[in-house]
């Protein structure tokens, strides 16, 4: 899966999860800020991404994945390593 496909799937997954349209959100925008997520909503969003892409974020870095770009990068790397 290339980065563009991952981004599209990611946007779709997050849109479903938070019931908000993500189109205006840029790759480097802070999702927590833009979507006004509280701490639990942030965790739920990460859980959705983990399940959708069959990945696992490192527990000690959960607070780092706050932009679409960082999520796309992590998913790409994880999928490459899985091959």
């Amino acid at each position: 899966m290339n980065a563009t496909t991952i981004e599209q799937e990611l946007r779709q997954a997050l849109t479903e999860a938070c019931q908000k349209e993500l189109v205006p959100i840029g790759l480097e925008d802070d999702l927590v800020h833009e979507l006004e997520l509280d701490s639990m909503a942030s965790l739920r969003l990460l859980a959705v991404v983990e399940k959708r892409f069959d990945i696992r974020f490192p527990d000690h870095l959960l607070g780092e994945y706050r932009t679409l770009q960082k999520l796309v990068d992590f998913i790409s790397t994880a999928q490459e390593e899985a091959l």
Partner: protein
């Protein structure tokens, strides 16, 4: 006529070592910050009870800069918790020196009216319902009385019931808004300094009133997170199920406080999860039933403690996280309690944990008992009623052991590794439900 209503609800740690821990362990003071940032429902109710021809201005203490000149009104109403009551008295004294009559109200004032009267032209005891309208009329006639007693029952029945003035919050930067569905709690815990002290019995608001209030409250902010300002929302399970069916279509995320019996009702738990409830705060108080004797008159919490783990699991498995609250320094506690709580927290998978020290808030049954047993460290310690400062001689350990144990437990619980474990546990629960 213009009436100024000033809310003072900040809580802060007084002990320097704990304050320092709070700096390095942000979750430690998280809940205190949330409480301090909530609007004052009591004063919004006072505003609603004020006649339409009177202008009402709502302020919070952070709006009042002590260096600035006072914003003048014809009459000022101030509401505060015990921890900030001395600052409230100071502000009241300044207003009175400036010739502005002052009315004091709130939980502390209701429990310590003689003390409060020294700083006020009038005090309002209990809720404002049944008291404020006549106070305003007396003031207009120049006949303000020194003491007004609000209703202790029937506050949610018309004509006493009023819809709080949530419109006064418009434009203020709240990330949480509050609505009260009930007043009081039948458990009647000895230490409790909440609304049960100003009610004669548990009172629950009709659901149509609650929903109307919620709609009004969330309309004042763009991204509302709702907090129910209750002491025990789901005492009445039938009411609870009906309420959950009514709140679900609003599509909100929300938080409330209740007791462990919420886990008895599977249907209610399912509705809770569907309704957008993200977290419930439950006073577990202590992991072991043997420590919970006499906490409440019927020993209800003691009878429930052996099912705590099972109940937490049932609630959290539905995606609703539990904020488990523990009180350290109960009479049954020895220095072993700190390791016991730490082990329980780890075993339970609680997403959030609130650790507090037993606090004899003035006027509560606990205060009177400890006063009678000569166990209070000072006669007057209201600014230390923070839930984190030790104000009494514990029974099963020394003051020093309690303070040292608390700091150890805070460090054990509120560190990054433990917090990450709790976050991971919550994520796995969410994933299992997807």
């Amino acid at each position: 006529m213009k009436i100024g209503l000033i809310a003072m609800s900040g809580i802060r740690v007084r002990t320097p070592e704990l304050a320092e821990l709070g700096v390095t362990l942000p979750q430690f003071v998280n809940r205190g910050k949330v409480i301090a940032s909530l609007p004052s429902l009591g004063l919004l109710t006072v505003a609603a009870l004020t006649p339409d021809d009177v202008e009402v201005v709502y302020r919070e203490i952070q709006d009042v800069n002590p260096e600035d000149e006072l914003e003048l009104f014809d009459l000022v109403g101030i509401s505060s918790f015990s921890a900030q009551i001395d600052e409230a008295y100071g502000l009241a004294d300044r207003y009175r020196a400036a010739g502005v009559p002052v009315v004091l109200g709130g939980l502390h004032v209701s429990l310590m009216p003689d003390e409060a009267s020294q700083h006020a032209d009038a005090v309002v005891l209990n809720g404002a319902e049944g008291a404020w309208p006549s106070l305003v009329e007396d003031f207009r006639r120049g006949d303000l009385q020194p003491r007004y007693e609000g209703l202790r029952s029937g506050v949610f029945k018309p004509p006493s019931y009023v819809h709080p003035r949530f419109d006064l919050l418009r434009g203020r930067p709240y990330n949480r808004v509050t609505v009260q569905t009930s007043r009081g709690c039948p458990l009647n815990c000895e230490f409790c300094a909440a609304s049960l002290r100003i009610t004669s019995a548990f009172q629950q608001k009709p659901i149509e009133f609650v929903i109307a209030e919620i709609k009004a409250a969330v309309s004042v902010t763009d991204q509302p997170f709702l907090e129910l300002a209750d002491d025990n929302t789901f005492i009445n399970k039938k009411w609870g199920r009906e309420f959950l069916r009514a709140i679900t279509p609003l599509g909100l995320n929300w938080f409330t406080e209740t007791d462990i019996s919420v886990a008895d009702d599977d249907e209610l738990l399912d509705l809770l999860a569907e309704s957008g409830c993200r977290q419930i705060l439950i006073g577990l108080e202590s992991p072991s039933g043997s420590d919970l004797g006499q906490v409440d008159p019927r020993n209800w919490k003691q009878s429930r403690s052996d099912r705590y783990l099972e109940a937490i699991d049932k609630i959290q498995s539905r995606g609703v996280s539990v904020n488990g609250c523990f009180i350290l320094g109960l009479d049954g506690h020895t220095p072993d309690i700190f390791e016991e709580v730490s082990a329980f927290v780890e075993r339970s998978g609680l997403l959030e944990v609130q650790l507090t020290v037993m606090t004899p808030f003035p006027g509560t049954p606990l205060y009177h008992r400890l006063h009678g047993e000569r166990r209070l460290l000072q006669e007057r310690y209201w600014d230390r009623c923070t839930l984190f400062d030790v104000n009494y001689k514990p029974k099963g350990m020394s003051v020093d052991e309690l303070e040292v144990g608390l700091r150890w437990l805070f460090a054990q619980t509120y560190n990054e590794e433990q917090f990450n474990k709790r976050k991971r546990n919550y994520m796995e629960i969410v994933k299992a439900r997807l």
